[in-house]
Amino acid sequence: MEARKAFVLVLTILTIIAGTTMPAASSGGERASRVDAVEAPATATLRSMSGTRVAASLLEPLVFQYGCYGQTDRPHLSSHVPGTVNVVARTVCPGESVYVQTSLYRDRWYGPQFLDSGSNSGFGSTSTNAAWNCSGSGTYTYRAYSYHEATVSGWAYTSNSARLTC
């Protein structure tokens, strides 16, 4: 019995520590979240899924499971497929069904140009990629936006970018 109490106490402390080390985008109110979204984090803790509007959802209390996060890696030139820019995104949430979707863009004079997207689902963790044949296209800023979701813990958006010469 004492051992169980000790276990619960340790678990509580770990949860509090996790809560205090969350990224700013996940702990702030509406404004902080929107400003951060201009440079959305590459990694984010999942949010509550309640609400139908992004803006409304950001105002609500966050419900998250320790160890659950979404992440978008930096777009990079593929070493496996030369002449290809590639980005990988993942959703991790142990014990839950998870989903990830990522979209790859290239910045043009008129705005972001959509290049490719990918999605995947799984249990516990899943990853996906988006890729585009960029050979000979020159130097551009590539940016990826990802959406992450877990059945219970919630959802999150992440993004990452890199300027690449292909």
Partner: protein, 215 residues
């Protein structure tokens, strides 16, 4: 609410995940085209375009009634039915509004609506204007817009008005030749539209073009 959403997810998981790769695009494949994805694509076209927010540029009370409506330069837009409509400049001439004479460094406002709060708003100024094909002749100067009701906070700010209109406030740079300006807005996909089993679609994006000259 969370329980309902989670239950919905569990139900929708049965439909599996379908990856749409057909929208992978080069400049050539997207040239002058409106790309539609979905089951009722062509029939939805007209209504899709009306759902895209409009943008109006004005320079203060003394010029009220002379707003310049921004032309749609590029967009990726998903309508209520989940149909994606996309367009980007290609080989044919890019349409711009009739140029307005505005003094250098003038403050201005752009109203965008109807619109949900965007997650990215950015201004791009192209000195020298556009060429015969409507393409800017020089590289842009970027100005990121921050959400705040206090216009003194940043060179470009925006705030929501009446729950459906976004007001962007900024100032033209000093200029002595025609100048093109683009406002780029990007929104995240709605959580309700992003579910297990849903094909991935790009986040909504719209860019509007404006033209000014110093006279």
């Amino acid at each position: 609410m969370v329980v309902v959403a989670a239950a919905g997810l569990l139900v929708s998981m049965g439909f599996g995940v379908v990856a749409l790769r057909t929208v992978a695009a080069t400049d050539q494949s997207r040239s002058d085209q409106t790309t539609l994805l979905g089951t009722e694509a062509s029939a939805q076209n007209a209504r899709d375009l009306t759902e895209i927010p409009s943008a109006f540029l004005d320079f203060g009370d003394d010029t009220r009634g002379r707003d310049q409506q921004g032309t749609l330069i590029a967009y990726d837009w998903t309508n209520r039915e989940g149909v994606l409509v996309s367009s980007s400049p290609g080989s044919s001439k890019v349409e711009w509004p009739e140029s307005r004479t505005v003094k250098s460094s003038a403050p201005f406002r752009i109203r965008v609506g109807p619109s949900e709060p965007p997650l990215l708003l950015e201004l791009r100024f192209f000195r020298g204007g556009v060429d015969a094909n409507g393409v800017p002749v020089r590289a842009p100067e970027y100005l990121a817009c921050l959400e705040t009701p206090d216009r003194k906070t940043a060179p470009c700010t925006w705030s929501e008005q009446d729950g459906s209109t976004i007001q962007v406030f900024a100032r033209l740079p000093a200029y002595d030749e025609p100048m093109a300006m683009i406002l780029v807005a990007q929104w995240h996909p709605q959580p309700a539209q992003t579910r297990y089993g849903s094909p991935p679609t790009p986040p909504p994006m719209v860019s509007w073009g404006f033209l000014v000259d110093p006279g």
